[in-house]
Symmetry: C2
Subunit: 341 residues, 2 copies
């Protein structure tokens, strides 16, 4: 992604692994300060995911895979059972960070699978490192292909609503929901993006920051105004990401507010697309756990209280949208109507 640093436009990935250290753009500092957070071990990476320094389903999947590579690197000795126990302990820590996005669970399970193939510690370590790199590279390529598949759906001159941040900052690079928009813009299509501010954590500010860096025309709106612009037919299509697509259950989880926008899009006959890699699919049938975060995320903004002393808030971080509200899911392997999934 393009990032303006001290007047210069540079290219950055959101997340990369180098010499056993995991680097990523610290999203708790954006959009005011561009800074790179460096995690030295899997415990720091787990903490960073919990604190949402790194966030977005694909990004935390890749971060979890790299965290297990960090765990593999820090293990000392040649005892394979000890190594496996260490990796499993780290896996549990990673799985305990955030419950809703499935990419993280899928990535951890992929890493655990390669353990079965290793004959000794060194072998396993190399397999884990390779697998983590493959997952990161796979995620990046998936986003590029989502961009290519989704770009065809974005007509010249169209206005697009997006909710939360499903951009480069939610992935290794490029984004899921924003990938088709980047590509449409770079191919010269005139598009305009309505950016839901996405309370409580204002991930719209991340999307706004990305679009501003890329020079894609856009405006921020409060989440309450999305329906207003849909009703006026000023929005031609909606694209959002997904934290977990539970195909067998017939619904997907994404940032709270997604369900509202999907219902409004259907009511106004506006196409509603979900852009997500296959790593966000869950083929089990268990219910998606919805993370309930601290009410303080609602009651405070930037450390400043916005409600009276004594006020209490409920704060579900995600919601569930039945696939009947979805026009199609844009994946790296193609664009599928819900019935085709």
């Amino acid at each position: 992604m393009k990032v303006k640093v001290e007047g210069k436009v540079l290219n950055y990935k959101n997340i990369w692994f180098e010499g056993g250290k995991l680097h990523f753009i610290d999203q708790t500092k954006l959009p005011f300060k561009f800074s790179i957070f460096t995690s030295n071990n899997y415990r720091q990476t787990a903490a960073a995911i919990k604190e949402m320094k790194v966030r977005g389903a694909p990004a935390i999947g890749v971060a979890a895979a790299y965290a297990l590579a960090q765990a593999a690197l820090e293990f000392e000795g040649e005892n394979l059972d000890g190594f496996v126990a260490h990796i499993k302990k780290a896996s549990s820590a990673m799985k305990g960070t955030r419950p809703t996005a499935v990419d993280l669970f899928n990535a951890v399970d992929e890493i655990l699978k390669v353990l079965e193939k290793g004959r000794n510690v060194e072998d396993c370590r190399e397999l884990i490192l390779n697998k983590a790199e493959a997952l990161a590279e796979g995620s990046l390529q998936a986003c590029r292909r989502i961009g290519a598949n989704g770009e065809k759906l974005v007509k010249d001159g169209s206005s697009i609503l997006t909710h939360c941040n499903a951009g480069a900052l939610a992935c290794v690079d490029y984004g899921t929901a924003l990938a088709p928009l980047r590509l449409a813009h770079s191919r010269g299509k005139k598009i305009f993006v309505f950016v839901d501010e996405t309370r409580p954590r204002l991930q719209g500010a991340l999307t706004e920051w990305e679009l501003q860096n890329e020079g894609i025309p856009h405006a921020v709106i409060v989440d309450n105004a999305a329906g207003f612009y849909m009703q006026r037919k000023e929005i031609d299509l909606c694209i959002v990401g997904a934290d977990r697509i539970a195909v067998k259950n017939g619904y997907f989880a994404n940032k709270v507010g997604t369900y509202e926008k999907a219902v409004l899009a259907k009511e106004n006959n506006i196409p509603f697309y979900v852009a997500a890699p296959m790593s966000s699919f869950d083929f089990s049938i268990k219910e998606i756990p919805i993370e309930e975060r601290s009410g303080e995320e609602v009651l405070y903004i930037g450390g400043r209280r916005i409600f009276a002393k004594g006020a209490r808030a409920k704060n579900p971080a995600f919601d569930i949208t039945p696939l009947e509200y979805v026009t199609a899911v844009i994946t790296e392997t193609g664009v599928f109507k819900p019935a085709e999934l």
Copy 2:
């Protein structure tokens, strides 16, 4: 309404007129500081309406009526034509404050009507003062009757969603949407109120402050989460106010986001009520003008920027909800299904 001041619970109206001065609770200071703003003349009252020191359709209607009483009081001399011209100038100033709520226009027109009956300046002045007092008292009584009519719709044990602030702070006292809830609570019904925070101006903080003062159980939620709780059937009914009910057009205007909640309520088979006095009705067929306020209301909270430098926002203050989404309108004269209006 109950107000806790320095540990004591006192009773306050939101707005009252005394000795030519208009007093009201300054809502730009709430919920952090309870303070009374005093306006000395109609120009100060007009400015206070623009700045939303006083807000809410019924409250700004009453404030505009009192502003014309202030204009009547400040006029010197006995020239009736001069007096009428002065009142008309003041009327234009009041009508230029905020465009969407119709109560203000209705109140100003009611005042202008009495001018026709006065034989001299003193006569007209007295008629205007009496009319302003009558409108304020009428507004108060309308809210009480809305409370009585709406309370029957609130079952013991129910959870209610409300959007924006249609409480005592939006009226002379008591409220429109909150009136049935106050009464239900005072009659011992166990209710729980979901308070939409109502971005961008967070009028949910006013509702939260009122409910906290009254001891009515409640929680704040972000506007994005209303759909989540409706989908889970944790909300039994919705009650909102109205800035203008355009009966002949078949829709009503209210705080932006109302349309979203109404669509979601219908989708989830949850009753959606509008509580508003007859002063909020508009029987003309002209389109409702939607106030577009500064994008800075979105980009800043409490003087603090929440988006990157260079970000732009669109900020419609109201939206339009077709009456087909409304179960019934609760007025002082009864509860009416849209078809009965």
